[in-house]
C-alpha cells in the first residue's frame, strides 16, 4: 500500500516556513503576516469542519492564530513542519471547544451524540466531495470502510474514540486499532515522513 502520490505542491512542505517561524519567534510582525497568509485558510477550514458554527469557528480560528504568535518560540522544526504544528494546534482547539460545550451539557451529551448521527453520512460525503487535495481523497479510499469512518469521525467531528465506538457500536479495542491502522495507511499512501 506504499502508493505515494504527489499531485501539485504539498503546502505542508513549504520550504520557507521554518525561516518565517524563526522570525515570528523573535517578534517580527511582518513575518507573522506572511505566516498568516499561508496558514489561516487551513486553520479556519479545519476549525469550521469540526465546529460547523461560523461565528464560533472564526472566534476559535482567531484564538489559534494568536496562540501561534504567542507560542512561536516553542515550535521545534525537528518535530514536524510548521503547517503540521499549526494544524495540530487548530484541531486541538476546535476539539477542546466541542468538548467544553459538551461537558457543560453532559447529561444531554448522549442524546446530542445520537441526534448528530444522521449527520455522519453527510459529513463524510461532504468531506469526500470537497477535499481539495486529490491525494488525500485517493488515500482515504485506500482505507477500509470502517477505518475511514473511524478516522473521519474522530478527526472531522472531534469525537473521542469512545464516542466513535458508541456511534459505530463497536468494541473500544477495535476502534483504537482502526484509528491507528487507518492513519498508518494514510501516512504510507501520502508518503508522510516525520
Amino acid at each position: 500500500m506504499k502508493e505515494a502520490v504527489e499531485i501539485g505542491r504539498n503546502p505542508s512542505a513549504e520550504p520557507d516556513l521554518p525561516d518565517l517561524m524563526a522570525r515570528v519567534a523573535r517578534g517580527d510582525q511582518e513575518a507573522f503576516a506572511s505566516l498568516y497568509d499561508v496558514v489561516a485558510g487551513p486553520v479556519l477550514g479545519i476549525v469550521r469542519r469540526v465546529l460547523r458554527d461560523r461565528a464560533q469557528s472564526e472566534e476559535v480560528a482567531q484564538e489559534v492564530l494568536v496562540e501561534a504568535w504567542r507560542t512561536a518560540a516553542r515550535y521545534r522544526p525537528e518535530r514536524g513542519s510548521v503547517m503540521n504544528w499549526v494544524l495540530t494546534l487548530a484541531h486541538q482547539r476546535a476539539v477542546d471547544r466541542v468538548r467544553s460545550v459538551e461537558a457543560s451539557a453532559a447529561r444531554e451529551h448522549k442524546a446530542a451524540l445520537l441526534d448528530r448521527t444522521p449527520e455522519f453520512d453527510e459529513v463524510t460525503e461532504q468531506v469526500e466531495a470537497r477535499l481539495e487535495r486529490e491525494q488525500v481523497r485517493r488515500c482515504l479510499r485506500t482505507l477500509t470502510e470502517l477505518q475511514r469512518q473511524s478516522v473521519t469521525l474522530a478527526y472531522y467531528r472531534g469525537l473521542t474514540y469512545r464516542e466513535v465506538a458508541e456511534l459505530l457500536a463497536l468494541p473500544l479495542g477495535t476502534v483504537k486499532t482502526r484509528l491507528r491502522d487507518g492513519l498508518i495507511r494514510l501516512r504510507d499512501c501520502l508518503g508522510v515522513t516525520a
Binding site: A25, R49, Q62, W69, V136, L183
Partner: protein, 250 residues
C-alpha cells in the same frame, strides 16, 4: 491499561480522540517510548493532511483582527524541556538556571535594552548539550549578579548590543540582537578594551544573529568592549575598524 494497550493509542492520540486522563497516561508512556513518539509524529502529520484537505478562505476581517491582537500579545519564551524529549542529564539543575536567566534578562530589558528577553530564545534554541548549559549557567550568573550593570548601543541596520558587566564576578556578557549575518568566511569577534589596547574576548556564533555570549577572560579593569568583523577563526588583534565600542558602565 497495559503497555501494549497504550501503544495502540498512537492513532487516537494523533487525532485528539482521547479523554484528558487517557491522554496524560499516554503522554507519560510516550515520554519513555521512542517508537511511540516517532509514530505519533508521523500519524499527527498524516492527520494534518486531513486538515489541509478542507482549507477555507478567510475574509480580510479575520486578518485585521488577528494582526491587531498580536500587537498587544506578549510572546512566550521557548519551553525549556520539550514534552517528549529524551530525558537529558541535568534537567533538574537546568530549570532553576533558566528561571534565573529569564528573570535576569527581563531585568536587563527593563534597564533599557530593547527586547532583550528575546535572547532567551537564542540561548535556549537546541540547547540540550551540557556544554551549552554550562555556558548558559555562567551567562545567567553574570546577569543575576547583584552588581550587574548594563549598557546598550544601537548598531548599524537596527541591530543592538548590550553589555552586562559584573565587577564582583569580573565577567561580562555581550548580548547581540538582530545583527546582520557576518559576510561568508567572516565572524564577529569581541574584544575587551584595555585603555586602547584590544584583548580578544572570543567569537560569536556566525550562525546566529541574536545571541548572548559570555565574554572570554576576566574584565580585569577593562574600560569597555568592542566588536569587529574578522576572518573565520578570529584574529590575535583587530584587523578592521570596530562596528561598535561600548564603554563599561561605571
Amino acid at each position: 491499561m497495559t503497555t501494549v494497550d497504550l501503544h495502540t493509542l498512537t492513532g487516537a492520540y494523533a487525532l485528539h480522540a482521547l479523554a484528558d486522563d487517557e491522554r496524560e497516561r499516554f503522554e507519560r508512556h510516550a515520554a519513555d517510548c521512542a517508537d511511540c513518539a516517532q509514530e505519533v509524529r508521523e500519524l499527527t502529520a498524516a492527520a494534518a493532511r486531513l486538515g489541509l484537505a478542507v482549507t477555507a478562505s478567510p475574509g480580510p476581517a479575520l486578518k485585521d483582527q488577528v494582526m491587531r491582537r498580536i500587537a498587544t500579545v506578549r510572546q512566550e519564551s521557548p519551553r525549556t524541556v520539550p514534552l517528549t524529549a529524551p530525558r537529558a542529564i541535568g534537567i533538574r539543575r537546568r530549570r532553576p538556571a533558566r528561571w534565573v536567566l529569564a528573570a535576569a534578562l527581563a531585568a536587563a530589558a527593563s534597564l533599557g535594552g530593547t527586547a532583550v528577553w528575546q535572547h532567551e530564545r537564542a540561548q535556549d534554541a537546541q540547547e540540550q548539550a551540557r556544554q551549552a548549559e554550562r555556558r548558559a549557567d555562567q551567562v545567567a550568573a553574570v546577569l543575576a549578579a547583584p552588581d550587574a550593570k548594563s549598557r546598550t548601543a544601537t548598531l548599524a541596520g537596527g541591530a543592538s548590543g548590550t553589555v552586562i558587566v559584573s565587577k564582583s564576578r569580573d565577567q561580562a556578557v555581550f548580548i547581540a540582537a538582530r545583527m546582520a549575518k557576518p559576510p561568508s568566511g567572516k565572524v564577529y569577534q569581541l574584544w575587551f578594551d584595555d585603555a586602547g589596547t584590544m584583548r580578544s574576548a572570543g567569537l560569536m556564533d556566525p550562525g546566529r544573529t541574536t545571541e548572548a555570549v559570555l565574554m572570554e577572560g576576566s574584565v580585569d579593569g577593562a574600560s569597555g568592549m568592542g566588536i569587529t568583523v574578522e576572518p573565520a577563526g578570529g584574529s590575535a588583534e583587530p584587523t578592521s575598524d570596530p562596528l561598535a565600542l561600548l564603554s563599561f558602565p561605571a
